[in-house]
Symmetry: C2
Subunit: 236 residues, 2 copies
């Protein structure tokens, strides 16, 4: 296992960077872009990336902020996320730039790239799909679902979403709206909803951050098992 950390790059005046996790074979592997929670790149994402390297993938953990936040800096991270979310067209450009970065990595097979994301990152992957990018698949874990308000495009990638039904940030009507949006966009989609489960269920550090946000080990296992199968199907 090797880790390369890129320096943050400027993009339209914003910082942008990544951490790349890969095996030591020197071979190009199917690539998974991993978009992080509102807190940016943390050990949570690094742990997920290491597990995925064990499954045979190279993993690019995207850094949309160009900086790191400590756990007590939640307020600053929320503000940074909001700044990005206020310009969804600009955010889309950054997401597409990350995809280009991923495809340029020697350790990633540029023809086989998927993206997964968590919370804010779960919205990032949907926005990448909504941009019409032709990638293998995207999977959203407890993602924000609200559409970017940009002109709809045909979605060319498979989409999977894993959702806690009691997520206070994403009410049932937002799930139904996503289903309608994805149906209209013509894509192959699946939404997996889990009962008695809130936001942030994959994240042991999420519990207590806000009401309705709670780690759930059983649901994390179920969602990861489904995601593993999804990625295998995407790269088949």
């Amino acid at each position: 296992m090797a880790l390369q950390r890129s320096v943050a790059q400027g993009l339209n005046g914003h910082q942008l960077g990544h951490e790349l996790f890969h095996d030591c074979s020197g071979e190009a592997r199917p690539g998974v872009i991993l978009f992080s929670t509102v807190m940016g790149v943390t050990d949570l994402e690094r742990g997920f990336a290491e597990r995925l390297v064990g499954l045979g993938y190279s993993v690019l953990v995207a850094d949309l902020y160009g900086r790191r936040f400590a756990s007590e800096q939640r307020g600053e991270a929320m503000a940074a996320m909001q700044a990005l979310r206020e310009d969804r067209a600009g955010l889309r450009e950054r997401l597409v730039a990350v995809l280009g970065e991923a495809r340029a990595q020697h350790e990633i097979d540029e023809k086989r790239v998927a993206a997964i994301g968590f919370c804010f990152g779960g919205q990032n992957v949907l926005d990448l799909a909504r941009a019409g990018e032709d990638i293998a698949g995207v999977a959203s874990f407890h993602g924000l679902l609200d559409p970017p308000g940009l002109a709809p495009q045909p979605i060319k990638t498979k989409v999977a979403a894993f959702h806690g039904w009691d997520d206070p940030l994403v009410p049932p009507e937002a799930v139904v709206a996503l289903a309608a949006e994805l149906t209209a966009a013509g894509c192959d989609w699946q939404i997996h909803a889990f009962g008695q489960v809130g936001h942030g269920f994959t994240n042991p550090g999420a519990t207590g951050a806000m009401p309705g946000i709670k780690y759930d080990a059983a649901t994390a296992r179920r969602a990861w098992a489904a995601c593993d199968g999804f990625l295998a199907e995407c790269f088949a």
Copy 2:
């Protein structure tokens, strides 16, 4: 592999029977009750049962009609289903009786019983859960979801549902209503929705039976993979 076919038994003036599929070990295995589509017990259900025996289960295919229908007898089968659906309390009694039958089989470990069902059978398994039965889990494939209109009871079993979002028999509001019902009933539930997919997606013979009913091989594979994981978790 062995097959035992029970003669139809009377229950409150109705016929009731089953076909039992099991290996030849003579051992009691975790039991899966399989409730069939509106067409009753056919080679579709027998094929599913044989695959599940290969996974280490004994499978009791329930026969709620006490008779068989040929594929051209769809109208008669629909009428038989409607007769059962018109008395959901009576139907519940029959479902609980089937559970008793399953537990009484030498080839089934009475403490480890789950139920799966398809279409009408997908509603049967939900009704068994709604009856408050303490079983390991129930899984519904393209099931009818409307509640029985009986007094709600706490649901003690894990529930999984696999649903084609374009199913003309089950609109989005019925899915949201099921989620609310299961949440209120306090159970561990998961609903897996698949886009661009209609009713009957596990059934190669379903295509053309009615508009919006169509076999979908990819979705069948996805739902079965999820169900296999679900059953393994239920019996762990």
